[in-house]
Symmetry: C2
Subunit: 396 residues, 2 copies
C-alpha cells in the first residue's frame, strides 16, 4: 500500500513536470484532478468566540504553485486544546486573519496548528521534497484544518517513514503532545533510572506519552486520573503502556494515601510532577513531591489557578515551572525536528502507542454542510472530554 | 561606653579566673553578682498552643560552667514569626522539651531562636571568647527568650564590633531577616545593576533589609504594602531607605496599574519577586514579573496558599520557589557567618538601618509576673501587627 502510494505520487510528480514541459497525457491529468480540484476547503472563524458558534466552512481557490512552494494535501489534523483556545481568542499566539489570500471579502482565520500532509506537487526549484513525500508542519499557526494548501518548504518537516511505518494520524499528532512529554521529562530534573515522577491527566495525549517515555527510560510513574465508571479498564490500559501505578484523584487527595505512596517509592524520590489541570488536583500533586521536587504546569484543564500551600515552598523547597512547547519549538526548530524523528522511530518500532482517537472524517465528495457538521461533532466531543480520545480531522 | 564595658568585662574575667585560683576580692564578686544571681529566667511553654495561653515564666538554676562552656547573659532576643509558630507547634523545627536540665518536673521548651548575648565567664579551656565579648546564636533552637545560659563555644558567633558600632538589638536581629533578604536577592536570579525586583510586605524586617541591599547593590525596587492611615509616612520612610517605588496592595491589583509599572521600569525587567504573604497579594506580585521571572516565597503572613494562574506558568514562564533560611544556615554555617559579619559592617557604617522596634524590657529587679506580662504584651503587639515594628526582648 505504501509502495503503491509512493509509486502513484512519483507518477504524479512526473506528470506535473511533464505538464510544465508541455507534455500532457490524460492519465496523468486524471491523477492530479483526483487529488485536487483547485479549490481548498477549510474550517475558519471570522470572530473569536465559542467554537460551535463561530466555526464555518470556507471554500477558496488556491494560488498557483511557484518555483519555491509546494502543493500539499492534508492527511490528518488534530483538534488540540491550543487550537480551541485560539478560536476562543484566549491563546497568546493568534492565527492571521486573511482575506485576499483566501478569496474572502471578510478576513477569516483558518484553525488548527498541527497536521500531516502529502506533497502533491513541487515548484521548479524545490529539491527538498518530491510529490508523494509526507511532512508535518514545522511551525504553529499554519491553519491545518483544511484540505489543501500551498506551502513553503520551510513550513514543513519531512516524515521519513512510510505510511505503514508511521500512520498519518501518528505523524499528525507527534509534534505537540509526545514532544511536550519528552521535553518535560528531560528538561527540569536530572532524573535517573529508578526515579519516580507523578502526573495528573495521565490519560491525556501528553500523559500517555509521558508514561511510555518514562517506561522506555527506566523511570517509574504515578499516574493520576479522574474516577470514572470504567476506571479498571483505564488503569489496565495505562499500565499496559508502562504506567507503574495508576490512582484516582479521590485516592490521592486522602492524606493517608501518602503512606501508600511512600511504600511504593521505597526510599526513592518523586523529583518531578507534570500538571495539566490547575486547581485541587495540582495541590494534591505538589503534596506528593519529595523535598526539592519540581512541578511543571503545561495545561489548565480545570480552568482554575495553581494553588500550593506556602509551607511546601518554604519547608519542602518545591519549585514550580511552566512548559510551553511553542516557545521552545520556535527557538529550536532543529532540536524539535530531531526529537520528532526520534518519536517517529519509536512509533514505527511499536514502542510508542497511538493516543486513542475519534476520527472526524472528510471524504472528497462530502457537502460543505456535512464537512462542517462532522467537524463540529468532533469539537463537541472535545468539549465533553470524550473519555480522553483525541479528535482528529482525517481526509479519506 | 563601649570601651568601659570591655574594660569592666576584662576585669570580670580576671576576677573569675582569680576566684578559681582562690584569689577573691569584694569588688569583683559584686561585679559577678550584679550580672548573674545563679538563676536564669526564661519564657517557656509546656504544651503547644496559642502563645498568650501557653507561655509561662520559669526560673531555674543554671548548671556550673565547665572547661569548654561559657556563661552568657542575654542582651536582646526578638520575637520572630518562626518563634511564634514553634509555640503553636506548626513549625517544622521544634525546640527540645527539657526537664532535669532546667530543674522542671514537667518538660518545658524555652522559646526564641535569635539573640545577642554578652559573655560573662568562660571555661578554663575556652580560647575563642573572653568575658565581655558579644555573640549571637550560631544555630536555631537555642531558646533565646531568657536571661542567662550556659553555652558551648560552637553555639555562638562572635560579634566583632563594639556596642556603639552595632547595638545589641542590631546584633540580635541580623541573622534572620537581613540574611534572608540578602540570600534571596543573590541566589535566585542573576540580577544586574539597574534591574528591578518587586516585593510585598515591604515594611517587614526582611522587606526593609531587601530595600536597603537592593539600593546598595544598584537594584531598583517596587515595594508593596497594605494601605493604612499613615501610608504617606510609610512611603516616605521606605523611600528614605532606598525604595524606588512604594505602592499599596489596592493600587497594584488594578489592571491599569501595569502601564504605570511599565513606564517605571522603562524597558528593564522585573526578574525577581519576594513574597511574604500568600493569597491575593502573591497573585498580584506574580502578574508584575517579566517573562521568565522568579517569585520566591519566604513567608505566609496572609495564611492563604500561593495562587497563580496557569497562564503565567505556561505563557510567561514564571518560576516559583521557596526560601527557608534555616535549611541553608544549617548546611553552610561559615557562609552565614561571613554574611552576618558583612551585615554587621553595614550596620556599623550606618548603611543598614534598624528595623523599627518595640522593646519588651526586662530589668534585673522585675517580678516574674511583670516579666511575663511585659512579654505577653509584646506577643500581643506582634499578633496585632504593630505597624510592622519588631518586638524584641531587651534586658536592661
Amino acid at each position: 500500500m505504501a509502495a503503491l502510494k509512493v509509486f502513484n505520487s512519483e507518477k504524479l510528480r512526473l506528470c506535473i513536470r511533464s505538464v510544465r514541459c508541455g507534455v500532457t497525457g490524460p492519465g496523468y491529468m486524471i491523477g492530479i484532478r483526483r487529488d485536487f480540484s483547485g479549490k481548498a476547503k477549510a474550517i475558519v472563524f471570522e470572530t473569536n468566540g465559542k467554537p460551535l458558534d463561530v466555526l464555518k466552512l470556507h471554500t477558496f481557490p488556491l494560488p498557483k504553485i511557484t518555483d519555491d512552494t509546494v502543493l500539499v494535501k492534508f492527511l490528518a489534523s488534530p483538534i488540540n486544546p491550543a487550537d480551541i483556545n485560539q478560536v476562543e481568542g484566549v491563546y497568546p499566539t493568534k492565527p492571521p486573519f486573511l482575506s485576499d489570500a483566501i478569496s474572502s471579502s471578510t478576513p477569516l482565520a483558518i484553525g488548527g496548528n498541527e497536521g500531516a500532509v502529502e506533497i502533491l506537487e513541487v515548484g521548479n526549484s524545490v529539491t527538498q521534497f518530491k510529490a508523494g513525500d509526507r511532512a508535518i508542519m514545522r511551525h504553529t499557526l499554519f491553519g491545518t484544518w483544511r484540505t489543501h494548501a500551498i506551502a513553503k518548504v520551510s513550513d514543513l518537516t519531512r516524515v521519513p517513514y512510510t505510511s505503514s511505518e508511521v500512520t498519518a494520524v501518528q505523524a499528525a499528532t507527534a509534534s505537540v503532545n509526545p514532544t511536550t512529554a519528552y521535553k518535560m521529562l528531560k528538561d527540569f530534573v536530572d532524573v535517573k533510572e529508578g526515579d519516580w515522577f507523578i502526573q495528573n491527566a495521565a490519560n491525556s495525549g501528553v500523559g500517555r506519552a509521558a508514561i511510555q517515555f518514562g517506561h522506555l527510560w527506566g523511570l517509574k510513574s504515578i499516574n493520576v486520573v479522574r474516577d470514572r465508571e470504567d476506571i479498571d479498564d483505564l488503569k489496565r490500559d495505562l499500565e499496559s503502556l508502562g504506567a507503574t501505578k495508576v490512582v484516582t484523584e479521590d485516592e490521592i487527595k486522602d492524606k493517608g494515601f501518602r503512606n501508600t505512596i511512600k511504600e511504593w517509592i521505597d526510599g526513592r524520590q518523586i523529583k518531578l510532577g507534570l500538571n495539566c489541570t490547575g486547581g485541587e488536583s495540582t495541590t494534591n500533586l505538589a503534596r506528593q513531591l519529595s523535598p526539592g521536587g519540581h512541578l511543571v504546569t503545561y495545561g489548565g484543564m480545570a480552568r482554575k489557578p495553581v494553588t500550593v500551600p506556602v509551607s511546601l515552598f518554604i519547608f519542602k523547597d518545591i519549585h514550580l515551572h511552566g512548559y510551553w512547547l511553542t516557545r521552545w519549538a520556535d527557538a529550536h526548530p532543529e532540536e524539535k525536528e530531531q526529537i520528532v524523528n526520534e518519536i517517529f522511530g519509536l512509533s514505527s518500532a511499536g514502542k510508542l502507542k497511538d493516543v486513542p482517537v475519534d476520527e472526524v472524517v472528510w471524504t472528497d465528495n462530502m457537502s460543505d454542510q456535512d464537512r462542517l457538521d462532522a467537524f463540529k461533532r468532533g469539537v463537541e466531543r472535545y468539549i465533553n472530554g470524550s473519555g480522553g480520545r483525541k479528535q482528529v480531522l482525517v481526509h479519506k
